[in-house]
């Protein structure tokens, strides 16, 4: 299994994920997101657009490596890894 850590900002929209470990099967990053969608429908709409591409100001990493394929999220997430989902906040 892999663990997914998400920015606290997302708990506002998905409160059911708060205070729980998100653990899903390994696979591509896209498959990891699809697995989270099964736990919390609609989650991936916040991360990717309608074509499955990573939204502009959202960042994903597998452990400490930033995901390379932002268009189809094909990077592999190995067993035991942690996926981090965070975003670049800016503006006032």
């Amino acid at each position: 299994m892999v663990t997914v850590e998400i920015t606290s900002h997302l708990y506002r929209f998905f409160p059911d994920l708060r205070n729980r470990t998100i653990s899903v099967p390994p696979g591509s990053v896209a498959e990891v997101l699809a697995s989270i969608d099964k736990i919390t429908p609609g989650f991936s709409d916040y991360i990717v657009d309608e074509h499955g591409a990573l939204r502009k100001h959202v960042k994903l990493s597998i452990n400490d490596t930033i995901v390379i394929d932002k268009k189809t999220l094909s990077d592999r997430v190995p067993q035991g890894a942690t996926v981090f989902i965070f975003q670049a906040l800016s503006g006032g």
Partner: protein, 394 residues
């Protein structure tokens, strides 16, 4: 008279209630989230807000209990295969005489849900949404699912049916500056006008393409820009490339349409078959974003004039609202109750509304003004709101 006002602001949705003849704001909803449009479905009282998340994509939120609680509604998505021909802002070294480059196709993704319009009373569940890039989406189940209006998306004025193959015509739809915030240069649909007498008759206004009309429920569309002058195009009378900032129609006399355009105020008394420029620069009526029309008298309209496209602010430091009652032949500016010095407000396209004799507008400076006598006298409902993007009576 309406008893509720909805504001879409940079920091959330603000609801005002009219209680004992006083308008009182509630604590903000969607706190911290930009809301580019908020409105009430008059058929069932559902409140809708278009959330303009900077990171998570555009979302719709709705309240079925008059704003006490909100829930996320299903996302609007372009169907697979939705493409458009990219446009780019001309750069300083742009060569107008250079050969036209091959069309560059891009997959469509929604950046902004700019407008939500509700169908007729007898069309249960029918809703429309206008987006950047310029898609018209239709729902027949109260926003549970949305379908792209393909005839408009595939219109010959934007290259034809790109689902099926490459362009069969040129793309005349230009990008709206309102899309620059998203790092793109694409058109957007900000105005959707339904004929109250005929559910199959509708108009859309597109920044930057112009006005289109359909008389068959959206199956075919025709440009309706005859008489609109675009003074920053090489051909001011070009069929496409116009920049209506907002278009609206009289509820009881829907053949009377008004548009506050980048290049002036335009009026049509024949269902947009032709437009007449009715700007009156001598009283400041020319540039601006919003426009409102009386529900009963199609010749009566209001604008909130701004200085100019290069100075998007109140004229000479003072806010005014101008009204015509004769189809734009003459305009009268009203200033009573509005600040007349050190005011630099700009009022965006969805930030003026009318309900009976009551008008309300809000500015990106966060000031909100209301008139209960058809715009002749105003009073301030607050000066510390976030930048206001939309004002709608419920």
């Amino acid at each position: 008279m309406s008893n509720m006002l909805l504001l879409g602001t940079r920091k959330g949705t603000v609801i005002f209630d009219r209680i004992n003849a006083r308008w009182q704001p509630r604590p903000i909803s969607h706190a911290g989230i930009p809301v580019c449009y908020a409105a009430c479905d008059p058929r069932d009282g559902t409140l809708w807000a278009s959330l303009d998340h900077g990171h998570w994509g555009p979302k719709l939120s709705r309240s079925r209990d008059a704003g006490q609680s909100w829930e996320e509604a299903p996302s609007i998505k372009f169907p697979e295969g939705s493409r458009y021909i990219a446009k780019y802002i001309p750069t300083e070294d742009f060569d107008a005489d250079a050969p036209v480059a091959a069309a560059e196709y891009q997959d469509a993704s929604i950046y902004k849900i700019w407008n939500i319009t509700f169908g007729h009373a007898e069309q249960a569940g029918r809703m429309y949404a206008g987006t950047i890039p310029g898609g018209l989406f239709v729902s027949d189940d109260g926003g549970e699912s949305w379908q792209l209006n393909r005839p408009l998306w595939n219109h010959e004025s934007r290259g034809g049916d790109l689902f099926s193959g490459d362009a069969s015509s040129e793309n005349h739809w230009q990008g709206t500056p309102a899309s620059i915030d998203y790092g793109i240069f694409e058109p957007g649909i900000h105005s959707i006008i339904l004929d109250p007498l005929d559910a199959r008759h509708l108009y859309v206004a597109v920044s930057m393409a112009g006005v289109l009309e359909s008389t068959d429920g959206g199956e075919t569309w025709f440009g309706r820009n005859n008489g609109v002058l675009n003074d920053f195009l090489p051909d001011p009378q070009a069929e496409w490339g116009h920049d209506p900032h907002y278009v609206t129609a009289c509820a009881k006399q829907p053949e009377h349409l008004w548009q506050q355009n980048h290049c002036g105020v335009f009026y049509s008394s024949n269902g947009a078959q032709s437009w007449e420029k009715v700007s009156a620069p001598e009283v400041g009526v020319h540039f601006g974003f919003p426009i409102a029309v009386d529900a009963c008298d199609g010749r009566t309209a209001w604008v909130v004039p701004a200085q100019a496209d290069m100075q998007r602010m109140a004229i000479d430091g003072g806010l005014c609202v101008a009204r015509t009652t004769d189809g734009g032949k003459t305009w009268q500016a009203f200033r009573n109750g509005l600040p007349q010095e050190n005011a630099y407000d700009i009022v965006l396209r969805h930030s003026l509304d009318i309900a009976g004799d009551c008008l309300c507008f809000g500015s990106t400076t966060g000031n909100l003004y209301l008139s209960e006598d058809r715009g002749e006298h105003w009073h301030c409902l607050g000066t510390h709101f976030p930048p206001i993007y939309s004002v709608r009576f419920a």
